[in-house]
């Protein structure tokens, strides 16, 4: 603690000396240092990638705490870091509601999913879902929803990278932003290609460590300024507030007051989506046992929980020290709250450090999404469906590597294409699809004996289709000034921005109805085997030893 205090004191003296301007050269240098360090780690990690298990799961050799950090690194995206702090700074309490949904969601993963998935699966979500059902159709469906979720999430991150640049590096023109998106995409391809899951995991661990240290230090700093009195901090946020009445930022309603149903829809998607996110599920395969999978979720819950507590202080800190007006006027808008707060606290040096962390965040998350999507394509579609399980593992990894390049290029093209578009809905859509298409099938196959192939297919395609359809016919696409097609075009038949409140119950309902009307008899022996293996860990994939 005393060491931390002296660091804080050190920073404080620098504030006086520092000019309060952004320094692109400094920002880029700190980011390049991060890239250099992680690249060395990735190259070293990539040396042992021999088998499919090495490439997809890092040989299942990570410990619970390591994987917990990696999960936090995978989960705390730029939307969490920049988006939530910004939302709290501008909309007050309503931003905090995101944090709570994102955290409580982990209890679903801990209590119902993580250990059982680890015990029954090998590389992908589809391994578990197709265990006792018809292999090919279920695998194709699970791979489809996996690719859809990864793609929506990936696009959101890449677009975020472009927006971040305009703020941090002072690059405002389209060409400059496109170049940065290309650099981020190229780095991601390089990391995943060379390092596989092991390299990706280490990038996530390093990033999670930096992110939590950085956010933690800023939190302590803000608290020091406010005499460790939360009420003082809230008072100064209110004093600087632009809302009417000024203390409206302390209670819910500023962002969602006009449409509580929309907020409930979002809350359902957040809490049920996490345990259906394929890149989160895949992380459970990187540890040697179910017990380690449990430990990793516990570490993740504490790291993520601590981080979200920091965001509360940082968000109100930004409201107090920077002000909602300044934040909204800055390039990058809401997303600029955290960087501007770091500038106000520690000057250009801290801004450079926080900016580098934000880039590292995007890089680590896109790498995790890419390896998940590539694994799902190579393992579920290429090896199991196209090669019908008869291809060689080497061939499968080769396909996975090629898929990485294809996905990387698609992500770069998509990221450049959506520059300047309001695509914040993509993250919410990814959660909604995960909750409506993936979670029902995961829970049914783990806990309901009567679940059938038809139920799985109806639930997955129905959940995916309804979530996407509702988004297209929502105010996100048309009918309001902030819509993608503007106010002039109006085909918004669905009144909410988030499809979850309809599509998630629909996904559960379709799985149930499909199973009841099913004519195909599922194998009771496989169901018994799955039940026994999921609870005892018998026959679970072991760590590879080298």
């Amino acid at each position: 603690m005393s060491a931390l205090n002296s660091t804080v004191a050190g920073f404080l003296t620098e504030v006086d000396a520092a000019t309060t301007e952004t320094n692109p050269v400094l920002n880029i240098s700190i980011f390049l240092a991060f890239v250099a360090v992680t690249l060395v780690i990735v190259i070293r990690a990539g040396r042992n990638n021999r088998t499919a298990a090495d490439y997809y799961t890092g040989g299942r050799s990570f410990t619970g705490p390591q994987n917990g950090f990696a999960i936090a690194g995978d989960y705390l995206s730029a939307a969490s870091f920049l988006g939530i702090i910004g939302a709290i700074a501008v909309n007050g309490y309503d931003g905090f509601l995101y944090s709570i949904g994102f955290l409580v969601a982990w209890l679903v993963a801990l209590l119902l999913v993580a250990e059982l998935m680890r015990n029954t699966g090998k590389f992908t979500m589809a391994d578990v879902l197709s265990f006792r059902l018809a292999q090919r159709p279920v695998r194709v469906a699970a791979a489809t929803t996996t690719l859809a979720v990864c793609f929506f999430y990936l696009l959101a991150q890449m677009a975020g990278a472009g927006g971040l640049v305009s703020l941090l590096l002072g690059i405002n023109d389209r060409l400059g932003q496109s170049i940065v998106v290309t650099v981020v995409g190229a780095l991601m391809i390089l990391y995943v290609l060379i390092g596989g899951m092991k390299g990706t995991t280490w990038v996530q661990i390093v990033k999670a460590f930096l992110l939590i240290i950085g956010a933690g230090a800023m939190t302590v700093w803000v608290l020091v300024i406010n005499g460790f009195n939360l009420s003082t901090l809230l008072d100064s946020a209110v004093a600087n507030s632009t809302s009417t009445p000024a203390d409206a930022i302390l209670a819910p309603g500023l962002q969602y007051g006009g449409n509580p149903l929309d907020f409930i829809s979002l809350a359902i998607a957040l809490v049920l989506g996490t345990a259906g996110l394929p890149h989160v599920l895949m992380r459970f395969y990187t540890v040697p046992t179910a017990r380690e999978a449990r430990r990793s979720v516990v570490w993740a819950i504490f790291l993520i929980g601590a981080f979200y507590l920091f965001t509360l202080v940082l968000g109100f800190g930004a409201a107090a020290m920077v002000g909602a007006d300044t934040i909204m006027a800055a390039p990058g808008g809401v997303n600029s709250a955290a960087p501007l707060l770091s500038l106000a606290l520690g000057g250009p040096l801290l801004l450079g450090f926080i900016s580098a962390i934000a880039f590292a965040t995007i890089l680590a998350v896109v790498a995790g999404l890419t390896i998940t999507a590539a694994t799902s394509f190579a393992h579920d579609i290429y090896a199991s469906v196209i090669k019908k399980g008869k291809g060689s593992p080497d061939g499968e990894v080769k396909i996975a590597r090629r898929t990485v390049v294809v996905i990387g290029i698609l992500a770069i093209a998509g990221g450049i294409g959506v520059q300047g578009q309001n695509i914040a809905f993509l993250v919410a859509l990814a959660f909604a699809v995960a909750a409506s298409a993936n979670l029902p099938t995961i829970l049914y196959s783990l806990f309901w004996r009567g679940f059938t192939t038809r139920g799985a297919l109806w639930s997955m395609y129905g959940g995916l289709g309804s979530a996407m359809l509702l988004i297209v016919f929502s105010p996100v696409f048309s009918g309001t000034p902030t819509s993608m097609f503007g106010e002039g075009v109006d085909f918004a038949l669905y009144p909410l921005n988030n499809p979850g409140i309809v599509s998630i119950p629909l996904g559960f309902l379709l799985g149930w109805v499909g199973s009841l009307t099913s004519t195909r008899k599922e194998d009771p022996k496989l169901a018994a085997e799955m039940a026994v293996r999921s609870l005892t860990g018998f026959g679970a994939e072991k760590a590879s030893d080298h």
Binding site: F96, I100, L111, L250, A267, L309, G539
Partner: protein
Amino acid sequence: MTDSLKDAGAQDSIDYVDFENSDRFVHLKRTRRRFVVPLVIFFLVWYFGYVLVAAYLPDVMARPVWGSFNLGLLLGLGQFVTTFAITIWYVAFSNRTLDPLGAELRAELEQKVHA
């Protein structure tokens, strides 16, 4: 290593249907379910209850508790506390009760394969 869809081989000799109906496996399954299901119901009701109050009764949330610190912040931080507490409780229960039961059954299955 063939990357087939499922692990074939020695494990086929085990009668899983029979094993699943054995008393000790049923005991493990029930013990886990009895612990997990009430907790899941509790945290979902508590979370959605909180969400409903935040959505429809923002004035209740705005009630001050201590200085500018209001009921909404208190309940929100309460969600963090219960999440951490449930996590710790579940891990303790798993380590103490579920893991030994599972390990025993796993050892028994492994014996069957090698027999």
